[in-house]
Symmetry: C2
Subunit: 648 residues, 2 copies
């Protein structure tokens, strides 16, 4: 690990996303999700269970009468909404929305206790019980999300009311939890505060904030196990006591440097993201090594082709290497989002193509599959194979919904989607010294503050439907800079031109490096060859044996019943299939669709009353297959869907 | 349905099983299972949880101090043991065992209340609560098993102490439950008493016993639902309230004549067996029709190739047509046993080959797979595909054990295995008027009381390893008789000879009918061609798409890691495979083993750090496969196993 290569994200205000693919998503979040979520937080959705989110704060502040309602982590939904609002304000100023957010922050901060404590569950129920169940009661989780919201809102508006409240709350936590004598030697059951504290540290530069994040990382899983002691001391319940997980559900059975991907997948990737953040700030080689090892074990052995993770509904968790069932899968939207967090941080540790490949894989597939094309309904579980009858009648697949659901009273994925989709600029680019890294190709304008001046770039592209990226340099420092352009792992042939002429470049770890003193107005074009690929799995993945998946650019495709009829399991794809790419601008905001010849196993020689017979030579009929991007599945009513298709 | 075709089982005392395959199983039960179970019933197994079975009776009788321990249906284990003992005494008299059983019966009957009630749970805990939870508290289930034990013991020994006790208990039940005013209009949550009452009726010829069985069948599932009313009246819990099953778990959501295979599989087949019994006694065409329809729906769409049923662990239940997962399967031993009960009764309703085919399929595969080769340990779940790592780490397969377990404190399958294996004679043969039906081929001597005299037959065979069956007529009536010999569905070519000469016969519905006045000493030989068959599933069974299974005679084969290495999912069987059959007399009591050429997908071009890549042409290596009978799997330590293998 070369410490000098570490990079930082850009200031989000310096990124303008102006067109095409991602702008559509961002606008959906801004115009649909954020307003709808605000109504939900305020219990104004008809026929939906109330969330009690904002009400809890007003009750805690003494501004309203009432009890606490909702989950123990109900506060965090408000924080995630605020964070998304902050990002949205950065690229779309909106005085009304900002005023609404200010009012929300006023209600939130009004609930803060004189000593800094701020969690509605304990304020309303029994303050004397606070910090007695770090394992399950999510106080530090809610704190983490509020820190992230406060930092984002400060960056977006310059307003520091929430930020100061969180600094005060962190002071309290630091006085009660940590290494000192008489303190609680604990850490959160649901991670997130670790990476949040690093965001806070980046603003405050207060070593205390870094130290606390580091404490939570280093203390985790040390013997004797804190959660075990805490259970005994406070008589806390232990839901996973008889599960094979036990404390590993919380990634708390071993010190983090000895861990493998384990337990609840969202918690896991949040922890790994925090580890990578602390590693970047401290340069701790043992922590960097742990991050790299866990990254490899997870993405090389336990990640779906859609960039989803967490293959088991039991504990929403990892199971074991190469266990990637397509139909009983969990693959939570939030886990893919957390994987993107981790990928972004690994990229910041070291700009390697494989980190950006995973980032892109999750973004274009397992993350955005979580939201319907109209932005109004959401998947928590993102299966790679669906049979509606099984979802209805098989207990093992009851969690696999065939249609996206409306926002729920107790909800994580929709606000998590909102905050990642409104802050894509911090994933797309990074920089260090005089180097600029372009990880994702998004139409828009970027300003990069390098150590020797400002680099400006304007990007035009129809990515991911097309592999042409046209960049124009709009502003340059006087000194040489390096522009590193990512060549995705799926791209085997590419071409780089400077003002239409073959460019001089080097290639390293998935990036094309252009070095020099560029003139303003210089055109850089990158042509990525984007053929349709037929993918196979490592044979260790039993569920995909003898099957193929289809990918073009970063987009994974699937077959749906709507286009290809029922019984997708009888469809076979010839190994030498030639695909036709068809631009479909009217297909849910525009997409490239694929068609190909295929085969369907003939069933007409079987009646419904014979289960087994002596094997015959199977008969196949020629059919035409239509493939749609995976993330767009289930936008046309319930039906079968499959990503991995049998190979003929 | 031709009423005249209905048949009756033989008197078990008239069947002597003398050699080879089944005799070994019976001897295992007699010498291992029955003595071990008696120790277990008396809490004398070291390092095992006590069962409290016999102790509960002595406490209920006031012969010992104590409380009730074990499940609410703990009594039934004693009944099943007694039934197995009774059958065993019929073919292997054993004064010591009979004395032990007499003592047990003495303890049991001592617990009977003056009004006839006999259930240790309520006698010990609170008699006033009896019959307040027919849905879940198994009083009628225990009664059913005790009736079956009492009838068997009466047939075996002529002793009627237990029989009279049960007649008295049935009188009580009949006075409290049934159609009359003021009675409980209920039926059992776990069926078995229906078929038991028919066995009792066959002994007593008391119409009351038939009427009560008929009442339980006819009342079941009528609106308003009894279990719903009972729940409300007595404030009973309802475990399945939020499951899609609800009352269908108990086959109690609809009247039986409108039902499809549903809910807990063991309960279901026990109910269907009772329905078929009542149909045979009453000739009710609507009930016969319901039995035939349910039989078809179950065996044509929801039965594993091993004769196992109940594909889901959730509720140990049926799911939906063609849903037959091999790895997350339940396939309880008791459900296969219940399927054999149902098959036997359908055969008695009408001697059709398909009923006997299913009977044989379950007996030779899904039933005896439940017992280890040494008769000392047992499977409840009988998977068709096993990966030890998954059983350990995947919550969905935690119930799939890779090794058979010792008898448990609360146990159903081992005693159920004991009673079916000790009473095979009642499955192998049936008769009516002057017709004798041979459904199974077992070495031994049979005496058949026909309406015009006694037919005696001596059978020699090495079935299932060999398709030759040699029969000698040892005793004949003076009038003509019909001998019907079953030609199994898997047999496409057969030959029948009388004294070495081509016989004159007709074939109907899977049976060869020989009519005539036979001379004593006549030799009948049946040669069943027994090739190795490669089977395919109906394409509607998604889990078996592109896979083959191997069957020879009635025996399903499997691949085990012990013979074929790890990663059975990488093994392919060519469609035109030629098998070699090898007699292995030393292989767990003797078996025909199979070997064949096979292919294994080469994995050496994959490292463990690559999950997906562009599809290559797969490489296969030639290997030699060794197949063992499925029922013998897991006798050589833990390892992978698979029945359905990929087809090349």
């Amino acid at each position: 690990m070369d410490g000098r290569k570490m990079t930082n994200p850009l200031n989000l205000r310096d990124v303008k996303i102006t067109g095409n693919f991602w702008k559509d998503f961002m606008e959906k979040v801004r115009t649909q999700v954020i307003p709808y979520q605000w109504e939900a937080l305020n219990d104004r959705i008809e026929n939906a269970e109330p969330s009690f989110c904002m009400k809890n704060f007003r009750v805690a502040a003494g501004r309203e009468e009432g009890t606490h309602n909702g989950c123990v982590f109900q506060d965090s939904d408000v924080a995630k909404w605020l964070e998304a609002v902050a990002y949205s304000l950065m690229w779309h100023p909106d005085a009304e929305l900002e005023a609404t957010a200010d009012c929300a922050i006023d209600d939130i901060v009004a609930a803060q206790q004189p000593d800094g404590y701020l969690n509605t569950y304990y304020i309303i129920t029994d303050l004397s019980r606070r910090f007695t169940n770090l394992k399950d009661h999510h106080e530090l989780y809610c704190l983490g999300h509020f820190i992230e919201a406060a930092v984002a809102y400060y960056h977006a508006t310059g307003k520091d009311k929430l930020l100061n409240a969180m600094i005060k709350y962190v002071d309290l936590v630091d006085s009660l939890i940590g290494a000192g004598e008489g303190k609680i030697h604990g850490y959160p059951g649901h991670e997130v505060v670790e990476m949040a504290l690093i965001k806070l540290y980046e603003v405050t530069k207060n070593e205390k904030h870094l130290r606390l994040a580091k404490y939570f990382i280093d203390e985790r899983g040390k013997q004797p196990l804190f959660f075990d002691l805490e259970n005994k001391k406070h008589g806390n319940g232990f839901h996973w006591e008889k599960s094979p997980f036990r404390f590993a559900y919380y990634q708390a059975a071993e010190p983090v440097r000895e861990q493998h991907p384990v337990g609840h997948a969202v918690r896991a990737v949040y922890l790994y993201s925090g580890m990578a953040d602390v590693a970047r700030e401290t340069g701790d080689p043992t922590l960097i090594e742990a991050c790299e090892r866990i990254w490899n074990e997870m993405t090389h052995r336990q990640m779906y082709v859609t960039g989803a993770i967490g293959s088991s509904e039991h504990g929403e968790a990892f199971t074991y290497d190469y266990d990637l069932p397509n139909d009983t899968v969990y693959a939570e939207t939030c886990a893919s989002i957390g994987l993107a967090f981790f990928a972004q941080r690994m990229l910041n540790l070291s700009p390697k193509g494989e980190y950006a490949d995973v980032l892109e894989r999750s973004l274009f597939n397992g993350i955005i599959s979580g939201m319907s094309a109209d932005g109004k309904s959401f998947f928590y579980v993102n299966p790679l194979e669906v049979l509606p009858e099984a979802s209805e009648k098989d207990y093992l697949r009851r969690h696999v919904k065939v249609e996206r659901q409306k926002w729920f009273g107790c909800s994580c994925c929709p606000p998590n989607l909102a905050r990642i989709l409104t802050s894509l600029g911090s994933y797309a680019y990074s920089k260090n010294e005089n180097n600029f890294y372009m990880h994702l190709y998004i139409e828009g304008d970027v300003k990069i503050e390098l150590s020797n001046g400002t680099l400006g770039l304007s990007v035009k592209t129809d990515y991911p439907w097309n592999g042409s990226i046209a960049m124009k340099i709009t502003e340059v420092p006087e000194m040489p800079v390096t522009v590193a352009l990512r060549v995705p792992g799926w791209c085997k042939k590419f071409d780089v031109k400077l003002d239409g002429k073959a460019a001089d470049y080097t290639v390293n770890d998935g990036y094309v490096y252009l070095n020099g003193t560029f003139a303003s107005g210089t055109d850089i074009t990158l042509e990525l060859d984007m053929p349709v690929l037929l993918l196979e799995s490592n044979p260790r993945v039993r569920e995909n044996a003898g099957k193929l998946a289809v990918q073009r650019g970063p987009v994974i495709y699937c077959l749906e019943e709507a286009d290809n009829g029922k019984d997708l399991h009888r469809i076979y794809v010839p190994a030498d299939t030639a695909f036709t790419v068809e631009d479909a601008p009217g297909f849910f905001g525009g997409a490239a669709l694929l068609s190909s010849p295929g085969l369907r196993l003939v069933q007409s020689d079987w009646d419904t009353e014979t289960l087994y017979r002596e094997a015959n030579t199977p008969e196949f009929e020629n059919i035409s297959l239509k493939w749609i991007p995976y993330y767009l599945w289930a936008n046309r009513g319930p039906g079968e869907m499959a990503v991995w298709i049998r190979k003929k």
